[in-house]
């Protein structure tokens, strides 16, 4: 028997709330480490929606997309943290408002 005993909508509401929390964090915080953390929260919320849908229909596809999201998160966070090291070295701060100029 496929399907969940908890309504799928409740899981999706939780995923939405987590995503909104991440989005608000992304827009409000100016520390780049917190921005990266907010990105992680948003990716995680998307993954939760995928796994919930996969569980709802009793298919493995949701978990496979979850693994892809995991890969994306790992690649993104390694490059992002490399950028954090560069920003800290160059600007002596982690505040992104101080790093808003491109070198022309």
């Amino acid at each position: 028997m496929a399907g969940l005993q908890i309504p799928l909508e409740h899981v999706l509401v939780l995923a939405t709330l987590l995503f909104i929390a991440g989005l608000v964090g992304l827009m409000v915080r100016r520390n780049i480490i917190f921005i990266l953390m907010s990105l992680e929260v948003m990716l995680n919320a998307a993954a939760l929606a995928f796994v919930a849908a996969g569980a709802y229909w009793g298919q493995a596809d949701g978990q496979i997309i979850f693994m892809l999201i995991l890969t994306i998160a790992a690649a993104e966070v390694s490059v992002g943290l490399g950028l954090v090291l560069q920003v800290q070295r160059r600007f002596r701060t982690l505040d992104m408002d101080n790093a808003n100029r491109l070198r022309g």
């Binding site: 596809d61 790992a74 490059v79 070295r89």
Partner: protein
Amino acid sequence: MMESLFYIAALVALFSTLQALSRSNAAHALIYLIISLLAVAVIFFLLGAPFAAALEVVIYAGAIMVLFVFVIMMLNLGESGDARERRWLEPRIWVVPALLAAILLAELLAVEIQTEGITSGKEVSPKEVGLTLFGPYVLAVEIASMLLLAGLVGAYHLGRRFIDRKSPAGGSH
């Protein structure tokens, strides 16, 4: 009964996420973020996706969060050394995350003790996931490997000069 476990885990996830994103200290925020990821792992387990739950703990809460910890320690923000670490060991820093983690552990134990198990009607086993992953989704594995290679090269390129600065004796590029 089993349904309430989901709602408790959901509350833990939401609370710890909000805490994580509203801290001012990055190390304290990381603790709450790890609790949030563990709560989501418990939810995966309750949804009948044990493989996803294991991956969430091992890769998300393990590997990716360790990267964050490394960078925060490397940057060594704020005042130095011993005084800061002593402040981190104060109970008010770790009591709430420890309580949340204990709640999640109790939920897992409750699921294990109950015979009817998970809240999902059908558990998607790791075997099914593996068969699907290397069957119709084998192209996704290749794409994931390319993505990880790109991440590896990018991270090495960005971190290289930082490494060189730490050991100027090496010198050559």
